[in-house]
């Protein structure tokens, strides 16, 4: 049991390790921007540790810059995080055999990136708590540490877009997305999602485009569902 636990843990750690490298500079950039917004180093560290969502934290800084009151800020962050409800619902089917207490703790570390790795793994193998922990947890101290470093050295890194770092996120998702291809129906779902998300991005505020695209893809899957495919 103990040996199997560590085998799974290290397998998860191996899968997530490239993301640790990719996210260190992104966390540092967030920290630097946070310092620029007047957050102290400790405030930046606490925010990374507690909110722990890159997208939400960048949006929060952006809103703070335009003087949004803290109460409204929380509401805006909740809409940005809403996509996690769908991710959590989807992964719930692969972790149904975990104890509820253990699952509820592990789900704190369900970031976009960890979720993508878990869904990829679950396609071929049964998820274990050890794999979940190994593939998700390491991103957390990594994110907190490097946002603290970024906040304390200020704007030393400069504009990360110069190094294409803003594209790392898209790169991860494209890499994981390819594994979900199951024929033309997947293609139709992807087109529905992409078109809806782009239109929503142009017309709706905040991060509603993610929910809009996701729901469009789900709706298409529902209407094209046929009885004989039921398994």
């Amino acid at each position: 049991m103990a040996k199997q636990y560590w085998t799974d843990f290290w397998r998860g750690f191996g899968d997530v390790s490239p993301l640790l490298v990719a996210y260190a500079p992104i966390a540092a950039i967030w920290g630097a921007v946070a310092a620029g917004q007047g957050l102290s180093t400790l405030e930046a560290i606490l925010m990374s540790a507690i909110v722990y969502s890159g997208a939400a934290q960048f949006v929060a800084l952006d809103l703070m810059k335009s003087g949004t009151p803290l109460s409204l800020l929380t509401f805006a962050i909740a809409t940005v995080a809403l996509r996690h409800v769908l991710m959590s619902a989807s992964i719930s089917r692969s972790i149904a055999h975990f104890s509820p207490a253990r699952a509820s703790v592990l789900l704190f570390w369900l970031t976009d990136e960890a979720w993508a790795l878990l869904e990829r793994r679950a396609q071929h193998q049964k998820l274990t708590p050890a794999y979940f922990f190994g593939a998700s947890f390491p991103l957390w101290p990594n994110w907190v540490l490097f946002s603290g470093i970024g906040a304390s050295v200020g704007n030393l890194l400069g504009d990360g877009a110069r190094y294409g770092l803003d594209f790392a996120f898209a790169g991860i998702f494209i890499g994981v997305l390819a594994g979900f291809w199951k024929g033309p129906r997947t293609g139709a779902i992807l087109v529905a999602s992409a078109v809806t998300a782009c239109l929503a991005k142009l017309w709706l505020p905040g991060a509603w485009y993610i929910i809009a695209g996701g729901v469009a893809g789900m709706a298409l899957a529902v209407v094209t569902w046929r009885e004989e495919e039921a398994t």
Binding site: A78, D112, A170, V222
Partner: protein, 103 residues
């Protein structure tokens, strides 16, 4: 300002934000736990990973410039060739960085 100073109102705000993000991460699981999902509901759930992955990246790729298109094309090709995830990320990032440097 001291590096270790923490504003009380800000601390309460980040606690609320943290609670909001955690709530979204655990709620889908709590709703569906122990329920059998089949038929159309299963089809909808199966569509979540590709649909959400696409929805997150589509605007930044398709509404971006030709440079983001090129980066996505390179990453997509790498993914289709079943190259390791790190190679796919690095290829996309390097393409975007290179094209931004020369354009």
């Amino acid at each position: 300002m001291n590096a270790f100073s923490v504003d009380a109102a800000f601390l309460i705000a980040i606690l609320a934000m943290g609670l909001a993000t955690y709530a979204t991460r655990v709620s889908g699981y709590l709703f569906l736990r122990g329920r059998e999902v089949k038929g159309r509901a299963k089809a909808a759930m199966d569509a979540v990973p590709p649909a959400i992955l696409m929805a997150v990246i589509a605007p930044s790729v398709f509404l971006g410039t030709w440079i983001e298109w090129a980066g996505a094309a390179v990453a997509f090709t790498s993914a289709m060739l079943r190259l390791p995830l790190l190679v796919t990320i690095a290829a996309g990032v390097a393409t975007v960085a290179l094209l931004r440097a020369v354009s």
